[in-house]
Amino acid sequence: MLTHSSILATEIPWIKELHGLQPMGLQDSFTMRSSLQAVALWGKKAPPHSITAIMITDDQQMIVTGSQEGQLCLWNLSSELKISAKELLFGHSASVMCLARARDFSKQPFVVSAAENGEMCVWNVTNGQCVEKAILPYRHTAICYYHCSARMTEGWLLCCGEYQDVLIIDAKSLVIIHTFVSSQSPDWINCICIVHSMTIQEDSLLAVSVAGELKVWDLSSSINSIQEKQDVYEKESKFLDSLNCRAIRFCTYTERLLLVVFSKCWKVYDYCDFSLLWTEVSGSGQFFAGGEVLAAHRIIIWTEDGHSYIYQLLNRWAQMETAYKTFSGLSKSIYPADGTLLKETIYPHLLCSTSVQENKSLPFVMGYINERKEPFYKILFSGEVSGRITLWHIPDVPVSKFDGSPREIPITTTWTLQDNFDKHSTTSQTISDYFSGFKDENETVVVTSSEYVPSLDKLICGCEDGTIFITQALNAAKAGLLEGGSLLKGSLPQKVLKGHHHSVTSLLYPHGLSSKLDQSWLVSGDQDSWVILWNIFTEEILHKFFLQAGLVTSLLMSPENFKLRSYQVICCVCSDHSVALLHLEGRRCLLSARKHLFPVRMIKWHPVENFLVVGCADDSVYIWEIETGTLERHETGERAKIILNCCDDSQLPKPESILPVASETHKHKSVEQRSSSLSQFGPIPCPGLQVESSCKVADAKSFSGPFNVLLVKTKWSNIGFHILLFDLESLLELLLPTPIRDVDPSNSFYCSEILRRAKSTVEKTTLTLKRNKTVCGPLSTEVHAKPVGESPAQGDNTIKLSEENDGVKKQKKIKSFKKMHPKQSRKVDANLTIDTAKLLLSCLLPWGVDKELDNLCIKHLNILKLQGPVSLGLAANEDHFSLMLPGWDLYNTEMKKDYSKVNLFSRKVLDLSDKYTSTFPNHSGMPKGLENNSDSLQESNTIVYLLSKLFLVNKLVNMPLELAYGMDSAFKIESVHNKMKSPGNDILNISSFYSYLRNGKSESHLPEADVSLLKLISCWRDQSVQVTEAIQAVLLAEVQKHMKTLRKTPVNSEPESVAKNGDYEMMQMLPKIEWAKEPELQCTTDTFPPQTPVSSVKHDSNSNSANFQDTEDMPDRCVLEESESPGKRKHHLWIEKVCSCKLC
């Protein structure tokens, strides 16, 4: 129990442990925030996509590729065989090994991908969402989908790879069901293929092992045994006498021939007795990569270097018989259908071939898809390491030239990601384009590192030429994306730090990680091994460290509880595998650890003994004593693993620990902890080397604010691009709550973690409590009952109480935390939040659908129009996100004609939007109050309203299916409601849920519009409408509705409600709406929120409430303090703070 917990792990950002180790346990807080809106700023260069797997979907409308970098790319394939890249899917942290269909494609367009490190994901390729994921300790090289509708409910994924025999994985849950085991010489399987034989009505599984052993398992007749977990052994086994099998294919046309492609030869066997009919050896330097049966006696073979050959298999005897029939295939009469063993003698005749002009980048991955129905083609497709896709349309009857020499089939289409970028270059902006003040127009800045500081809204970019730009992130994004934003370009406040002479490879803003460190500090490392400490406010160099090592690949900071003489230290990892520790306060280098032979993969800290534990790529561990700079220990193998593993689960330092002893005593234990069932089957993957995250997606985890900018870089490349991430939920939180709630994202890691945990557990209660308290300070106890009663459907009193207590407790926690950092809140100023919201709306709105609407939006919402379509994206959870590629919107040519500069996600959006509009009841439009006020208060009010709608839609569409099924509509809505822990939804659902819950579940009181609306959105989810589609549709409809009212009512309508100062009744019923106006207060008056004239506030909430609820049986409530003077209000806030502390 000693060292077990006393070493602190700091992970190098691009590495993710297989076991889901999180450096600071952020994961739970992150999963709560279900999906983030992302906007990609791609730049001019496409990210590298080295294709390692490729497939065409069964409907021939999409190409799916997997890359060595770990991404999947979806490409649209038009009916004219034109390719256009559509979407990039991030989800794997290692290179993709294989792709396969995961469902009956006509029912569900699902594709499974398996990565090098054992990750498996099932993707819905129409909307780019990851449906299911799992990490299994198996590396698959091939997957086949098998479904026997008569005997199975869910399909199987038959997998083979770097383990013995064939695994059966449930296609839906990705759980291992069983294995097909071999009794004779079990070995790894290279290739598998499923044989459906019509004549014997039995499905078989053919597999070839790495040693060249062909094995046959009964498939359809062993379904039951598999389901009962009985061992199923191979039916037949035959040694094929060749190594490196690349493909095995059964000829379904003759049901007789079996094609087996090895890397140095291909062979044809008679399926009846596995007798060898023909062997064709490859030419020198040529490696076969696969093959397929085109038709009866016609096969295609392709090679690693992108060539393919179509052969006619001729029968000597038949040829002598009927010489003129040479190329027309062999008639049935020659081959008795009854399967008598007529020894066939065949030899191949080369008919056609295909090639690529430049076959320099090996290897090619190729495939062939056959025609299914009429409009479909026979397509040979290939993907290259360079990211190029090439298609050949194979004619139905390939023939050779008249002189008998093989004919060359021309390339039909070829395309790369870069082609998309070149064609639609206008749509691919970068943030860095706007650092142009110091540059020639034609020279672009290559950003090599970047860091976003949420507390200052500063984006810090290190460039290739050694300069560091600091700019206002939101404004830079606006300048890049929005029309008229480019005017901002010149006026963008930016700072340039000059000091590096080589490209800046890493940046660290220490204050972002530990609030105790100076806010002005920035640490940057460059290619030449210089590390500079800057003051970003004065732009001066505080100190230059020269590490005399390689390129500084990353800068890390020691965790808060690791202190060296009460200071935290900076750890620099260099490309020459050395590690240096820097002491910022002391301006000195503490340690330079240079003995590592392999790249450093992990840094861990041992706070008590002052040890630095360095894990290397070869799974060895070096333990350095920081004080003396000596190498304390060097371990490899099992012991190294134990040392690294033993610090995983806890971070609490225990004073009496001694590392060597502890690792000794805990050897046994940690070994035991490892899952043992896995070792029965194939190899246990070694987390050390195998887990190489291909891009820094993991960084997204540390994201806590409403807005963030990330530089995404892929492996083996210096091409990076920025993505803007918007968190609807936290955006709403920031727009709605009290100043107290306003959490500064730049708070210290630890503290904000506590806060977040507190939030997540009883978030709703806490929120509502707090809201009420701050609104009507002294009367808070009275108000408690209501919001609490609103959340649980049961309405049970005891539950209410406990929840309430809980809430109070949590609140106390937050409060005490607040006391610790009294100055830190309110850093994110309201203007920034509302600007973020506006930018998000600008990006989401389908511009150009209706010109008038555009103008109204610009005028009344004060948002700017987009310059062009943006690449929207969706971060579904911590490490799965999808990004649209430039030109995603233009694959459909008719869409291009219809609208110019439109940001319409898909045609469907318009239909969905119409449907959505039709659910509106006729009488109610937007809250009436919004009509006649065109000031910024109303504007931000509308923005909040729109965002909350979007948030609801987002949540509803994302809701897991299980939750949705088996519940009647009311319950469904309810559970959704309860699931959502954000103030946003409260506003939305006030009308339905408020009355609904308080009226004792009598459905008659529900406004019909809302139910149908929710039903509609739930229905969209079932139709697998994409989240972005739904969001855009709802936004369009809402904006249309809103703007319609604006058009109808001229602005001169008198402000009748302003006088309604004392319309308390309405307000009490809707404490939340009060909250909605809080940020508006902040926005309108930059200086001090509570000074806003109360009257306008009144008016606003009044109108909201009037619209939203049915007033029939509202219980009378406490009177709010709104009419009090601002000074008093402030006083109350203060009192409330004190009170809550005393109370608890």
């Binding site: 770097e162 320099k360 290897p363 390129l551 043992s676 194939g682 070694c686 080397l689």
Partner: protein, 287 residues
């Protein structure tokens, strides 16, 4: 802005030339060297199907430990399979001698060796289609290849260095216990594995825990080597390990193979490092 890039035009030309040499000549030289080493390593594993056919030769290993001589064993290895085993166990209590051997018709596949061998041949295959005629055009291409090769080699090495951690019920259920004639007594468990360059045989002697035993029953987890006192449940019985005997023998060719793995891994890493030296000068190139 001054001089952003330290390299002048002339310097760049030299660097470019040097990089071209690296890609065209040096890389292939290293790859050839790597292939040679790995082929040598794979020969140690006596790949079936490669070169000389016929039954793979058998090797006998006499297992012992420096401490006691209570267990003696002779294991016969044929490629990646144990074809024969003779184990003599002197019971500590009554000094009674137990002898058991493999059934004639049975072989026991050592999965660790098989996996290591397969990983090596995968690595060789990756290298094989990049012969001298193939031209590397970018450094990234070399890095990717090296990464793939290193991945295979690390796995090969790890398979040998990290034996599977099994729980006692898993050992009891494994096919190995059913391989013997006469059948193993119910109070004995046997496990065979590779640890680094050694072939290890562990024999666990068990005794049943009385149902009313005051001992706190805590089933042991998975481990390479269980220590006396480890408990587990098997069928209806609760058992405890009373004695553990571990004997081992060095397999010389495994030692060679491990050395080859380490050397080739270092070669790969060195090549990667050479490439990345240039990448830092050329980061503007698509690399």
């Amino acid at each position: 802005m001054a001089t952003v890039m330290a390299a002048t035009a002339a310097e760049r030309a030299v660097l470019e030339e040097e990089f071209r040499w690296l890609l065209h000549d040096e890389v292939h030289a290293v790859l050839r060297q790597l292939q040679d080493i790995l082929k040598e390593a794979s020969l140690r594993f006596t790949l079936p199907g490669s070169g000389t056919e016929g039954p793979t030769k058998q090797e006998n290993f006499i297992l012992g430990s420096c401490g006691t001589d209570q267990v003696k064993g002779v294991l016969t290895l044929q490629g990646d399979a144990l074809s024969q085993a003779d184990v003599n166990l002197k019971m500590p209590r009554n000094n009674q001698l137990l002898h058991f051997a493999f059934r004639e018709d049975k072989q026991w596949k050592l999965q660790q060796i098989q996996d290591a061998r397969n990983h090596v041949s995968q690595a060789i295959y990756l290298l094989a289609n990049r012969d001298e005629s193939y031209q590397f055009r970018t450094g990234a291409e070399v890095l990717k290849l090296m990464d793939a090769v290193m991945l295979q080699l690390t796995r090969a090495r790890n398979r040998l260095t990290t034996p599977a951690t099994l729980t006692l019920p898993e050992i009891a259920a494994s096919g190995l216990t059913r391989m013997f004639a006469p059948t193993l007594p119910s109070d004995l468990l046997v496990n065979v594995y590779i640890n680094l360059n050694k072939l290890c045989l562990t024999v666990y002697q068990l005794h049943t825990l009385q149902p009313n035993s005051t001992k706190n029953f805590r089933p042991a987890g998975g481990a390479v080597l269980h220590s006396p006192g480890a408990m587990f449940e098997w069928g209806t019985q609760r058992l405890e390990v009373s004695h553990v005997h571990k004997v081992e023998s060095v397999i010389p060719w495994l030692n060679d193979a491990l050395v080859f793995f380490t050397v080739s891994l270092q070669l790969c890493q060195q090549l990667k490092d050479k490439i990345s030296v240039f990448s830092s000068y050329w980061s503007c190139r698509p690399f």
